[in-house]
Amino acid sequence: MIVFKDICKTYIMGDEQVHALDHANIHIKQGEFVSIIGPSGSGKSTLMNIMGCLDTASSGEYYLDGMPIERYSEKALAKIRNKKIGFIFQSFNLISTMTAEENVELPLIYQGVRASERKARVKEALEMVDLYSRRGHTPNQMSGGQQQRVAIARAMAAKPSLFLADEPTGNLDSATGKQIMSIFKELNKQGNTIVLITHDDSVACQAQRSIRIMDGKVSDIAYDENGEQVAPMRGGTV
């Protein structure tokens, strides 16, 4: 479902070349719950941006559902983001002037879904995160946890093939964080593919598998059901 082949991303900062991603090879299957873990500056944001089709790689190939992403135009990428990827950000990224309901509805409007169906899907998604009763509230009338749940509902409503979460619990207290994590687990149980980016080992170990990233290079770890590390794998191809 997700295939990174020798992905490199190079930035030029002043006179220096920074290799944010250095020949990364990743393979994520349909229905997997994978965490990507690494300290800040390790290249995990770059990884997430490329995986989320927000940015393109300097070299290498990225296949999402078999589609060669680097060959698409910005217009086509917007469509792919809209239909295939559900983003959940650390800072929630809800539109502050819109209510919870309108925020969840927005990707459906961009998909061109009819009004009656939009309404039904918004209701379904908000009920799933238990916030339908607060649908008329704007983000600044809600707590961080509630905002993040709205953001998850927004991602869910679009019925994406990949949930891409960037430090979703980073701005939340641990109790709320747990709540959010349980929603992800529930989503995964329903067969959704989830990629979760974090710097926190205790969050990362809740996934079935972790991909560790360090200085732009990736390596793989697998966990058993109790969150115990099963076998560290070698760097490079996973």
Binding site: K75, K79, N82, N93, S96, T97, M98, P107, Y110
Partner: protein, 392 residues
């Protein structure tokens, strides 16, 4: 998607009411001045044109000012024009100015000496009495037909047929009173609403040595006006050979045309000035849209991340600019309407909003919205989602 964009635009305009209003103010003032100025000119033109038409567009005036003092005689003219098919009738007009007095009051009036034909040529309508007739002419009777205003201001009432007034030391019997005229043009030409028509024979006696210098011709058919003018011109050339300075020919449609040209130029000029202020309003919109795009960079990033195509973002901001300017335009038209009502009330006129200028204003402000919204919208749509998302 289009309806959604309009909803979003309205929402973002409403979320910042004060700023939106100030932005619109430029357009409001521009549209207001455009609509009011052009409507005023159009309204004034309309009433002037109406006045001119009331004077009779089938009338041709010839001013004969022969320096040798051999003016043409009425009999001669009558005989001569009988053979000109396009001309129906002719009447002389001789002017004098004098005090018209009753027992109690006195006004300075224009006395016009003429023949009964003038009533027909100029379409003079009476509210009481009659116009004088040929016997009055032959006997140079002291009878006058007065304007409504003269009757009211000198005698004190308009049904004053049979009353006597004094003019130039003689007593005149009022035999007719003209209808009250709203005709501002006649007033403009005569300089006074006080007019008294009398047989030219009487006037010539009143002012010895007075020549008949102005002749009014009526044409057989309105369509023949040009032909009649040509025929009269030819006749004058024959009658006054080698003396082209000795006469001049006017017709009302020429005045009408001239007036139309002047007001047309005035409309364009005033409209142009107002249009410039609309453009300035447009620049205001562009300015605020640019600020808005920068302020909402993060929102643009979010929208792009969740799948808004560049064209959708572009449309959103473009529509916002158009909605701003069209809303300003509509408010401006509303204010113009109020202003026109006020002008009508105070000036006792009935000028309406010119529909043409209203349509022009709406289209123009839409155009302003598009032109000045395009650059900010393009800027928003061209943002890379990743950069926009990082913006704080």
């Amino acid at each position: 998607m289009f309806i959604q964009s309009i909803k979003m635009a309205l929402k973002s305009i409403m979320s910042n009411k004060m700023r939106s209003f100030l932005t619109m103010l430029g357009v409001i003032i521009g549209v207001f001045s455009l609509v009011v100025l052009v409507s005023l000119v159009t309204g004034a033109t309309g009433s002037i044109t109406d006045s001119i038409n009331e004077l009779g567009t089938d009338q041709i005036d010839v001013d004969i000012s022969d320096v040798r003092g051999v003016p043409i005689s009425l009999e001669e003219l009558r005989t001569d024009i009988a053979s000109i098919e396009s001309v129906k009738a002719v009447a002389p007009q001789t002017y004098g100015v004098g005090e018209v007095t009753s027992m109690t009051k006195s006004v300075r009036a224009v006395a016009i000496g003429t023949t009964p034909e003038l009533a027909e040529i100029q379409g003079i309508k009476l509210e009481a009495g009659r116009f004088f007739m040929n016997p009055d002419l032959d006997n140079n009777t002291n009878v006058i037909v007065v304007s409504h205003e003269l009757a009211v201001d000198v005698v004190g009432r308009s049904d004053c047929v049979g009353e006597t007034v004094k003019l130039g030391g003689r007593s005149f019997t009022i035999i007719g009173v003209m209808e009250k005229q709203s005709n501002s043009m006649m007033m403009l030409m005569m300089g006074t609403p006080y007019r008294a028509y009398m047989p030219y024979t009487t006037l010539v006696r009143l002012i010895p040595g007075k020549d008949m210098s102005v002749w009014s011709f009526s044409v057989s058919a309105v369509d023949d006006l040009d032909q009649a003018e040509k025929d009269i011109q030819e006749y004058m050339i024959r009658r006054f050979p080698g003396d082209e300075e000795g006469y001049s020919i006017y017709n009302e449609s020429q005045i009408s045309d001239q007036m139309g040209k002047i007001t047309g130029i005035l409309s364009i000029l005033l409209g142009g000035i107002a249009g410039i202020s609309l453009l300035v309003g447009g620049i205001g919109i562009m300015n605020i849209m640019l600020v808005s795009v920068t302020e909402r960079t993060r929102e643009i990033g979010i929208r792009k991340a969740i799948g808004a195509r560049p064209s959708v973002i572009m449309l959103q901001f473009l529509i916002e600019a158009i909605v701003l300017s069209v809303m300003g335009c509509l408010i401006g038209i509303g204010f113009s309407w109020l202003a026109m009502q006020l002008i009508n009330m105070i000036g006792k006129v009935s000028f309406g909003l010119s529909p043409v200028v209203v349509i022009v204003a709406v289209l123009f402000s839409m155009g302003v919205g598009v032109v000045f919204g395009l650059y900010p919208a393009k800027k928003a749509s061209a943002m890379k989602p990743i950069d926009a998302l990082r913006f704080n």
